[in-house]
Amino acid sequence: MINDKGGVGKTTLTANLGAGLAARGKRVLLIDLDPQASLTVSFFTQNEWLRDLLPGKTIKGWYDGVGKTAGKSMAELITMPPRLTQILAPTGGSLELIAAHRDLGEVDIELAATLMLDPSKFFAVHERLRVGLSEPDFTNYDVVLIDCAPNFGMLARTAVAASDLLVVPTRPDYLSTAGLDSLGRKVTGWTDEYNRRLGGAPKGVRRRPLERRPMVVVFTMVQLYNGEPVEGQRSYISRVPQLGVPTFDTLIRDNKSVYGPAPEHGVPVILGGTGRSHVRELRELVSELLIRLEKIPA
């Protein structure tokens, strides 16, 4: 889940898609890469995060191990949101999380500095998350959703390298759709750089070129009038597919009274929300995502 523009609903969608997939019987892992830790505190209370997770159970622990021979397994960082266990029990699905650390911003800078000092660590840094997710403990998951911070820093690049599909939540307005172009350029530029460097990789290490990651845009914070997006938003919604960018058909509406309180209760709207129509459109989005995921080769 990526967009280097902030405030577009990435975290809300990650939480709801994750919970919605779990409710369909999927085994889901969420990874919070945003130092604001909004995804983490959507499932854990601030006190639980500070007391139980920050000392040693955040994704920072995994990135701290870059370049070290022995370190933690990423599986040791997995936690189970307590308030969802009972809700998801009848579904056969599960939702687990690797929490964010508030110092992830510093991790981003340290990783960039590591590469400046020692460019030979390019692949060790960029593939850090992909390597972690290839551990045997992670083969049990059906879906891993990674919530990126609103930038295209080192952590976001590791997320792109580890992903099969980039879901880009976007508001239907000028700045957000302009941000899509900027994101497309950054991802493509980075992919090209990765593949260029493959030629200089150490002998004996075989790596395949990185294919351009498929992207799909989901429009969030949509305002409807008579069941249709208002004209000012409709124009932006209809322009994006014309640029060749795939989009989800489902539009996610704006409603602060529905989405605002959910994180405080630790249960996403899709599992316990009050707005029935909002739950319905979130479920439709889950269905669309499942169809796209099924098309991705295992």
Partner: protein, 149 residues
Amino acid sequence: MTQPVEIASLVLKQVGTLLAKLTPDQLDGLLQSRGQLVYHEGDVIVPVRATRSSQGGTAGSRTKPPNAGVDIDAVVAAIRACATGAEVQAYLDSHNRELTVPTLRAVAKALGPTVVSSGNKPDLKRNIIAGTAGFRERSDAMSAGAWRT
């Protein structure tokens, strides 16, 4: 020689006389911009009734469609053929006279949902540019063709 102020005073007196002969409906039409006063060579000022088909006209009134003389499909095709926002701008400017606000609105609607079809004339022109070649041009510049497959 009659002074301009005196001429204006005489004209206003004539206009006042004319307005006094109009029906309340005709006066309302003028007030709501559904009708207009038109100058003809000669010595009379003739009121012409509503020209906005969407608001309807009174029976027997002289009406003309909002896009009279303008082939909307041809305008749409010409705009779609433009490769850049500047070309769209040049086209709209070169046909400024016939592209009235109602016509521009019809063109904006015919161009599809990428174009916002509300606003005054400058807004509509800007919307048509932004919703056609403008957004593609901007996107290509910003994304460096990242979305092209």
